[in-house]
Symmetry: C2
Subunit: 341 residues, 2 copies
DNA sequence: TACCACTGCGTGCCCGTGCACGCAATATCT
DNA sequence: AGATATTGCGTGCACGGGCACGCAGTGGTA
């Protein structure tokens, strides 16, 4: 049976109200008594009853804002599903979840949404950020107002956000290397095309990929990393140039965008399906290329969790005062082939 | 804001208790009044408040029993984690979750546990079943007593369980075929070693694998399915016999157990790592073989969800009277290599 | 007519928690 | 010393829903 405040009160020889003050640091209590009560509560394994709390809190707001880009990709659809399920769960306990969908993800738009949520008296915010100085400053200012922020999908490094829910990029790069090793039995050359090198995901995926592949396969030659800056045209040009220069180029790993350009170039050179392409992210386009056999493997992430968890982390923080266990919550790396997409 | 019984009572010009009787069909009420109240409630969009109900129901049982095999595998650990998280969530709303761990999974043991739970006044049961006629009869008898049952990991087909949470075995077989196709660029022969053919998972994995591979790769020759009946020694013998008979045997797909026997045979023949092995289930042993490069791919399933959902489905059913959306809840297929395990 | 059972409804308590209020004891100030 | 704040604590109400109890009105029976 669950322990209640009343039981702790009896065990400590005080009243329920005193236990309440001790547990919730409300002040107006002798610090020594408070400490003793907290010790007893801990020993008894006290966990606040959600129903009781929800009931007592009813009438108050507890609003959680979620800022998400609506791309219409299957990935985003699943993230949204996760968010909506969390919304349902949280709202049944009296919370209020506002989902703000924005069509394109510029820092200005995100900041504008944050400001609007802040004005509306939002108690916590989950967002899919972009790398931007002003956005980081905005997040830090939210933290100063004690409005917790959780980032998901990508992170704002060195900011005051309480948790990041997303992929471990290094590990993702290593997994890609493992797959590349499996499908290149005869050795050969491998090319890594990275997006913006300032982006941490790109950097870490590249690092993980190279570390793993060079460690496991001495017979595979990894060419110098090329940067396509998230531009399909540049990625295509790089691919074309490289397959012409190196006839034994057997695989291309893309850390981010540029898939379309690469696939077109390979097709143009008559090498589509021959040069193995491994890429990231379950976008519509990538999935199409995967189904057509132009991409061998796609590395994705647990989309549902990436939507559900940020909301729930905020809810737990705001409702129970329970901080996230870690500063990062990594989602599983999902490997998709044309057969399990 | 949410509608309460009190608001309905005021709108209907009756007392809260009368609304309660109307909404919960408790009798002792004029049928016409009851109907009128239900109409008003519907019009106002009444949804019972979980917190209130949980609080009122506290002290009463709402006991959910979970029967799980403790194998100590990482997979089972994660399933257990999911169960324990669901336990926490449900218990915070006043439910009671009993986790029964049994060391080995014979039908007798499972039935014995079910009987004990039934005697203890359990309101719903989640279990990892084995294929057994008496077990199915037991589950059906539970259904007659209105004790809902959810199966997970494997199903009891054609039984009265309200939902199955686990893998779509056909799809898993297809994914394995896709991977096999990727790592056998030069064609050759492929062998399927199945566990007990009466087991639906084995049957469907085999079917999915053969359908997919024969459709996508005409240059790969799929040998007749061999049955190892979940016996390592038999599986090993089959593998040894086959690699001797067919020098171009390039891949083995195992639907279930027998991995150890196969790997030993391959090692014995000096073909370890050369003949590609793809298998199912993230057991300790399989993971070891995967890490050692003796297995190329392992197909697993979302373990956490497989623990969490069965308990939550039962809780939603018993607490809110909400039935599962579908009779099946399929978990995602996870592909593991030595690099993302 | 007196007694009882039954119907149809209102009332009040309970669950666990948050919080406002109030009261006694002590501390601080005039 | 007396008035006034502050500290430390107990008490009671509220929240929404389940359910026991009780009460008035009705109908039947001896």
């Amino acid at each position: 049976m669950a322990v209640t405040l009343q039981q702790i009160a009896e065990a400590a020889g005080v009243s329920r109200g005193t236990v309440d003050r001790a547990m919730n640091n409300r002040g107006r209590i002798n610090p020594e008594v408070a400490e003793r009560i907290r010790l007893i509560a801990k020993k008894m394994g006290y966990q606040p009853n959600r129903a009781g709390r929800a009931l007592a809190m009813s009438g108050r707001s507890l609003t959680i804002g979620v800022i998400i880009q609506v791309a219409g990709t299957p990935f985003m659809e699943k993230v949204l599903e996760g968010i909506l399920q969390a919304k349902e769960d949280a709202e049944r306990l009296g919370a209020n979840v506002l989902v703000r969908k924005i069509p394109d993800m510029s820092a200005e738009k995100v900041i504008a949404e944050i400001e609007e949520l802040r004005k509306g008296g939002c108690d916590g915010i989950a967002l899919m950020p972009v790398d931007d100085r002003r956005l980081r400053e905005t997040v830090d200012s939210l933290a100063e107002e004690h409005i917790p922020v959780v980032t998901f999908n990508s992170d704002i490094e060195d900011s005051a956000r309480i948790c990041f829910v997303g992929q471990d990029a290094m590990q993702s790069g290593r997994a890609a290397a493992g797959l590349m090793a499996e499908i290149m039995p005869d050795g050969g050359k491998v090319l890594v095309i990275s997006g913006y090198p300032t982006n941490h995901s790109n950097k870490n995926r590249t690092r993980g990929f190279i570390e793993e592949l060079s460690a496991s396969r001495a017979d595979i030659d990894i060419l110098d990393v090329q940067y396509a800056f998230d531009d399909d045209r540049i990625a295509g040009m790089i691919a074309e140039e490289m397959v012409k220069e190196y006839s034994d180029l057997g695989g291309i790993y893309l850390t981010a965008s540029g898939v379309e350009g690469v696939c077109e170039s390979l097709e143009h050179c008559g090498l589509s399906g021959k040069v193995r392409v491994i890429s990231n992210d379950l976008t519509d386009q990538n999935i199409r290329f995967l189904k057509e056999g132009k991409i061998r493997f796609l590395l994705g992430q647990d989309a549902h969790k990436q939507g559900y968890e940020p909301v729930m982390l905020l809810f737990n923080k705001l409702f129970d005062g329970k901080d996230p266990e870690k500063e990062f919550m990594y989602t599983e790396i999902v490997i998709k082939t044309k057969y399990n997409i």
